[in-house]
């Protein structure tokens, strides 16, 4: 013992600090590079979405249009179709990406994402009911969506109790099915509806949303995202389990605040574009894989934005003469991933330990 003591007392401190500094810097640098790369990818996808397609807009023309100049044909297409779709795609992508990653990380289960456990569909059911049955619009629709999302989240938690894992996922899938039937019921009660509208509230779409709705979402995110950034500072500690987190001075209320912000992010996204299928579910795990397995909310948000932009572009132009809503495309890509996660088995996918 005295031998080891002497060795440990040797004045290696400056070296040791340098070793620690280097070891701690590596993942931080990687994360910074990842976020920068994703921002570039997002800018690229945004440019493709706005400038290319059936009608090509040159960059100088695009700048002139933004400057308020009227170019016959082009101004209308950019300002009323392409640009709002692209901006909305980015905003809902970020909202779903961050919201989904919050769920998956706090519940320690990639299957516990809001679009699988019924939270997104709960928001959608409440929003469509408010619009179609009560004739609401604007902020009140967002409020209804928030109420629906919160209601489902609390119900899932009441059913699953303090257990995460399978019980939570099964309860959520059951509630998701119930919410889906609520949405379908609402459509039987209204006189005027079309396929696009039904698809929006069932699988999500960024098509045909007015600037006012986009502005509403932007304002909501301007409040929610900084709040999330603040609350998520305790996430690296919460990840160590409830007891270890409590020992480090992070109580359950902090985790619950973060979950609440996740529910709100998803709800405001749904109010604007419907429950775009599987974006919340896919973004977190993809961002995590790109970040060498480590949790990252910013990268999850950026991945979500890229997915929705690219998905919308594919939906708009992949099949000639058919404008598919983005949710159909993301659903088609998300389903195989869900199957793969399930096939990987309980060890990885379902090691959640407690419910929200």
């Amino acid at each position: 013992m005295s031998l080891t003591l002497e060795r440990r007392q040797a004045p290696t401190a400056p070296d040791a600090v340098e070793v620690v500094r280097r070891a701690r810097r590596a993942p931080r640098l990687h994360h910074r590079r990842l976020v920068a790369g994703l921002v570039l990818a997002l800018v690229g996808a945004f440019a493709v979405r706005v400038l290319l397609g059936d009608y090509t807009v040159t960059i100088p023309d695009f700048v002139r249009i933004l400057g308020g100049e009227q170019i016959p044909g082009a101004t209308y297409i950019v300002m009323e179709s392409k640009l709002p779709r692209a901006v909305l795609a980015v905003l809902v992508g970020v909202a779903f990406g961050v919201g989904g990653a919050i769920f998956q990380t706090t519940l320690r289960n990639p299957l516990a994402s809001p679009d699988i456990v019924g939270v997104s569909l709960g928001a959608s059911a409440a929003a469509v009911s408010a619009i179609a049955l009560a004739g609401w619009s604007g902020w009140s629709v967002s409020a209804a969506a928030v109420a629906g999302a919160l209601g489902v989240a609390l119900l899932v938690r009441a059913v699953a109790g303090d257990h995460g894992g399978f019980r939570l996922v099964l309860a959520g899938i059951g509630l998701a099915a119930a919410m889906q039937s609520v949405i379908q019921y609402v459509f039987t009660r209204v006189d005027e509806w079309d396929v696009q509208l039904v698809l929006r509230w069932l699988t999500g779409s960024v098509n045909g949303v007015a600037w006012a709705g986009i502005g509403l979402l932007a304002v909501a995110l301007a409040v929610l995202l900084p709040a999330t950034a603040w609350a998520a500072r305790s996430l690296p500690v919460s990840e160590l389990g409830d007891d270890a987190a409590a020992g480090l001075g992070v109580g359950r209320t902090r985790t619950e605040l973060l979950m609440l912000l996740g529910v709100l992010l998803v709800a405001v996204g749904v109010a604007a574009a419907g429950p775009v299928a599987f974006v919340a579910f896919l973004s977190g795990p993809i961002a995590r894989a790109l970040n060498r397995g480590r949790t990252t909310l910013p990268a999850a948000g950026l991945v979500g934005a890229v997915i929705v932009l690219v998905g919308d572009h594919i939906g708009a132009y992949a099949v000639p003469d058919l404008n598919l809503p983005v949710g159909v495309v993301t659903g088609a890509f998300g389903a195989p991933f869900l199957l793969w996660l399930l096939a990987r088995g309980p060890r990885h996918a379902l090691r959640g330990r407690r419910a929200a």
Partner: protein, 287 residues
């Protein structure tokens, strides 16, 4: 000798007073009084389900008392801000979760959380963090693992890393719930040596729950034996580890002899099929 307690009076910073703890509708710890001697190593022992882990969780403010209180410097620990408590009192739970993709230096750095302000890291804090993490890694002999993934480490290495995280927290008091579980005997001794050195060098007050009575007797300054949520014996290992107490607490027929290495009491269990040789006991048992 001991920087935190130079006079050796062992006054308590952490104590339980009339503490009752429980889950759902059962009381697990009942009206318990305990003064944790300051600057000493206290070990809580007892049979399975005697409430020792519950007591530790209660002392670490993870459980709200049904009645009574846990006092830190005379104040009810539940009324103190939890982050403030975390700067004085550290906890290593029995089964902490290792997040995916986390490196040793990163995990140990998370122990610094209680020292961060409400808006995160400032330059000065980061330097202090790095200093504290480096010290913790050196103390636990894990510096060379700093950039390794925690989930790639062996059980013994991983446990040392978790201890390092608790050390980086820089608390005067450290509570550990069975820190030697899942470790082989060599790693158990290594772990307890490490904690003993920590107590000797930093004067850290240590409270831990241990399963192994003989290792408890060797490493404890103060031993607490629990039965059905109550303290049945408390004091130095020599006072507590007697054949009678061991029989009461564990329901185990036993002999207590002198540990030839540390000269602390050593419990030798008497099994049902072991004939007891005459010199060890005047009564020959043939159960």
């Amino acid at each position: 000798m001991n920087p935190a307690d130079p006079t050796g009076t062992g006054s308590a910073r952490l104590e339980a007073s009339g503490l009752t703890l429980g889950y759902a509708d059962t009381d697990v710890v009942r009206e318990l009084d305990l003064q944790v001697p300051h600057g000493k190593v206290t070990v809580v022992v007892g049979a399975n389900a005697c409430g020792k882990s519950t007591l530790l969780r209660g002392l670490a403010r993870l459980l709200r008392p049904r009645s009574g209180a846990v006092l830190l410097d005379g104040e009810a620990i539940h009324r103190l801000p939890t982050k403030q408590v975390a700067r004085t009192l550290g906890l290593l739970p029995q089964n902490p979760i290792t997040p995916e993709g986390v490196t040793v230096a990163d995990l140990v750095g998370r122990g610094r959380h209680p020292h961060h302000g409400p808006f995160g890291l400032l330059g000065r804090t980061r330097q202090e963090d790095e200093q504290a993490v480096a010290e913790a890694l050196v103390l636990t002999d894990t510096l060379e693992l700093a950039d390794r993934m925690v989930d790639e480490l062996s059980g013994g290495q991983r446990q040392r890393v978790w201890i390092a995280m608790a050390l980086a927290q820089g608390t005067e008091l450290l509570l550990l719930d069975e820190p030697t579980t899942y470790l082989d005997v060599a790693h158990q001794v290594e772990m307890l040596d490490l904690l003993a050195e920590l107590n000797a060098r930093r004067g850290t007050t240590i409270v831990m729950v241990l399963h192994d009575l003989n290792l408890s007797a060797r490493y404890a300054d103060h031993l607490v034996a629990l039965l059905h949520g109550r303290i049945v014996a408390e004091g130095t290992p020599r006072e507590v580890v007697t054949e009678e107490v061991v029989r009461t607490v564990f329901g185990l027929d036993n002999r207590v002899i002198d540990d030839p290495v540390s000269h602390t009491p050593l419990v030798v269990p008497v099994g049902r099929h072991t004939p007891v040789p005459a010199p060890a006991s005047p009564v020959k048992e043939t159960r």
